[in-house]
Every structure is written in C-alpha cells, then in structure tokens.
Amino acid sequence: MKFYLKLVHMEVHRFRYLLGGLMVLTLLMQFGVVLLWSLSERSIRTGPGWSEKLITYHPFSETGKLTFNEMMFNNQFWFSFPVLISIAVIAGYVFLIWYRDWLGRDTFIYRLLMLPSNRGCIYAAKLTAILLFTFGLVSFQLLLLPLEMMLFNLAIPEALRDPSYLSQAILQNQVLKVLIPGQLDAFVMAYAIGILTVLAAFTVILLERSYRVIGIGFAVIYVFVCGAALLAPITLQRPGNTASYLYPGETYSIMLALTVIIVFVSVWLSIRLLNRKITV
C-alpha cells in the first residue's frame, strides 16, 4: 500500500503542471465567455431602441429576462472548448503515462520495474493517476460553475435577469450534460465506460510493449473481441424474432456482467504481462 501511494504521488507530481495548465485554461476561457457575453447582452438590453416586446419567444425565462441558462446555451463551443481540450489531453496521457517511461533518453521504466514492490502497484498507480486527473478536472468544473454564476450575476443587474438553477444550467451545455449527468445511474454508466476504455487502452499498450510489432496484432484482436463481446447483447437480437428477444433490463444486465468480465480480464492480462512478458 505504501509503495502504491508513493507511486500515485509521483505520477500526480509529474502531471501537475499540465493539470494546472488545463485548470487555468478552463477558468480563463469560461470566465471570459461569461463576462464578454453578459456585458454584450447588458449593453444591448440597456441600449437605445431595446424593447422587451421585441422578444416574443422566451425559452429560458417566462419574463424574457436574461438567465445563466441562456448564457450556457448560447456559448456551446467556447464554453466547451477547454473541457474538450482537457478530455483530449487526458486521452493522450492514457498512452503517454506508459510510453513516456519507455521512450526518450531516460527510460524510467527500468527503475519502475526494478522497484522492490509488486508490479501491479505500477499499474494501479497509473490507473489511479488517470482517474484522479479526470475527477479532479470534473470537480474543478463543478467548482467553477457557481463562481461563473456569481460572475454572471455581478455583470447583469438584478432588474435584467432571472435566477437559474445550476442543475438546469449544466443541461444547457451538450458536453457538460454528458460529463456531469443529473442521474446517478447515467453518471455510473458514463464513467464505467470511461474506466473500461482506459483499462483496455492499458492492456493494448502492455501487449505492444511486451510483443512489439506482433503485439499490435494481438492488441487489435483484443480490442475487437472486447468490443464484439460488449455489443453482442444488442447485435445478436433480431427484430421480430421472439426467441432471441431480450427485455431492455436483461440487455442492460448482460452488458453490465460483460463489462465486469472485461474489466477483470483486462486487469489480469495487464498484470500478467507486466510480471512475465514485459521487456525494456
């Protein structure tokens, strides 16, 4: 446990600048979007020629006043941009967290594999680090949202705005809606798929690192088998064929069971590769 925690600390320490950079980028871009849009809307609504009667359709507020929800809805791209960048960086880092230790002048993997601890700790530490970065960024986004709402309230006079709820504001953004779903089961499903993907990627990397060129072939087969197994409950059902029909609840249960099996197989295979087949 001590080794595992030390390795997690080291992995987080190595990513700290990039993580900090992503947080600063998110903060600056989203605060900038909130401020610019709010000031622009305020000047329009307080300017000459503005009449409430001009707006006949009020999707965000019954009174036609400005809301934080409207701001979120009207700034899909620029509000989501730093979030998408963060997702891309984390996705890239899933591969880099291993390859960085193999490639380059200083092959740190020698030292990692020679640590007097179970090699499963290296695997667990890298996985934990990825999860910490992901949930760290999601938590940071959750922390930013009320602050952005406060900024919006400061920029728009009370007479011009109606209140919004944070949960509704999140639903206005197509990316945040997926990242921070309102229901627990949707949240669990989204992040279970995410974790499964990371585990599969780790296995692919370790297959390639163990068998090199041939390992790429094994990795392709592995991804194909996992994908086919996971989608089998859906693809094997034929409309109209009552013998092969499954209720949605049954399909969900089978997929959940298959997910658990794939997780176990991926972890078992990865640790076996690290212990017996890996080569520096």
Binding site: K6, M10, R105, D106, Y110, L115, N118, T279
Partner: protein, 229 residues
C-alpha cells in the same frame, strides 16, 4: 552466488541467447565480454527480470527470486534511468523512499567523491556526470551483487579513472560484480572471471588469475584468439 543456467531467448527468429550458463560469485568481479549484439546486456536484463526468456533459470543464493531480488542485486544500466526533470537530490529521495537497502551515508559519500551537485537537474547533466550519478544510484544500495552495463561508455578519461577507482574501493568489496565493457584494458587487472560470448553462446569462461599463471595470457590475448580466429 548468482547462477545463470541454460538461458535461451529468441527475438523473432534470431537466437539472442542460446544456452548461456555461468556463475557470479560474491567478492569477485566477473566480466561479460563480447562484440556488439553478443547478448551481454540481454543477460543482465534477464537476471533483473527486465526481459523474459524462453528456457532456463536464474538462481540467486539458491532461490528463484521475485521482487526481493531488487534488494539483493542492483543494476546499473548503460544510461541513467531517472526522469530528466528530477533533481539529483529528488532522485536520491526517490531511492530512499522505495528501497530498504538504500544507504544514505554512502550516497552522500559518493556525491562528494564524484563532486556532484544535488540541485542540478538530471536532464542537464553531461554524459560523464550522468554516468557518475548512475553509478551512485547503483552503488548506494546495500546489495550483495552489482551488475554494471558499460559503465565507461562514452565518458572522458578523467571520469573513467574516477570510476575505475571505485572498483578497487570498499564500495565494491565483498560484493559479487558482473560488468560488461569494451574498455577491457582499463579494468583487466581487476577482473577475476571472464565470460566470453559469441552469437548468444558462452564460448570461453575462465579464471583470469589462473590464465595469467598457467598460460601467461591476458584477457585481451584470449579475446584476439577467440574473436579474430
């Protein structure tokens, strides 16, 4: 004693190691000699569990060891294996954190001996300084065996002299040492046993002192016989 018994390894269709067997005794310096691609580094990696092998076994003091081997044997590869962003002091803290056998006093002694600066970043070290620090990381572990892969590779004559000095010091005394080097002349007088490799096989394995006494030959003489024949 480390016993390497009948190790076989293939890479694609090429035999990298073909039935390699030899022993490393405590208190002796064993030198693996061979041309490039003979399998010297692969043998060291196999002993350290850094590369798998198809057949054979490696016995350390009568046991097949797992992770415990890393407290018993230290491996000094032919390049420094620490992240370039780390400072030397941080790298030593890392070693102290993970290894029970890390000897802080010896590490400080070696820092002084090699005139290294703790605040320096690993990525900024010259090749010679990196080689010295690499040696420090291996020798500051209180292990019974030390494996060194090309410790003199690409470094200047002054640094080389300093590293050679280490071999005859208390830092090596009583330990079993396995070394690979192309600079035989620098360490010939220190070597107890030589293992000559060719195409992944041991072709000669001899005690250097006996060879000198019985046949009046040096290691270089034997190398010429074997590799230039």
């Amino acid at each position: 004693m480390i016993e390497v018994r009948d190790i076989h390894k293939k890479y694609r269709r090429r035999k990298v190691l073909d039935g390699v067997s030899f022993q490393i005794e405590k208190g002796e310096i064993t030198c693996l000699i061979g041309t490039n691609g003979a399998g010297k580094s692969t043998i060291m990696k196999a002993i350290m569990g850094l590369t798998p092998f198809r057949k054979g076994e490696i016995i350390i003091d009568g046991q097949k060891l797992g992770k415990e081997r890393y407290e018993k044997i230290s491996f000094i590869p032919d390049h420094l294996t620490m992240p370039p962003a780390m400072k030397l002091d941080e790298a030593m803290v890392f070693m102290a954190d993970f290894y029970r056998s890390w000897n802080e006093d010896r590490a400080k002694e070696l820092m002084g001996f090699f005139q290294l600066e703790g605040k320096e970043r690993i990525g900024n070290l010259s090749k010679g300084t990196a080689a010295k620090f690499n040696l420090l990381l291996g020798l500051a572990l209180d292990t019974e065996y030390v494996l060194m892969d090309e410790p003199f590779s690409g470094i200047d004559m002054f640094s080389r002299a300093l590293i050679t000095e280490v071999f005859s010091s208390h830092l090596i005394e009583d330990r079993g040492v396995l070394i690979t080097t192309h600079e035989i002349a620098d360490v010939e007088h220190l070597i107890d046993q030589a293992v000559l490799l060719k195409n992944g096989s041991v072709i000669r394995n001899f005690n250097c002192e006996l060879l000198r006494m019985e046949e009046s030959k040096s290691i270089v003489d034997v190398m010429k016989e074997v590799y230039q024949a």
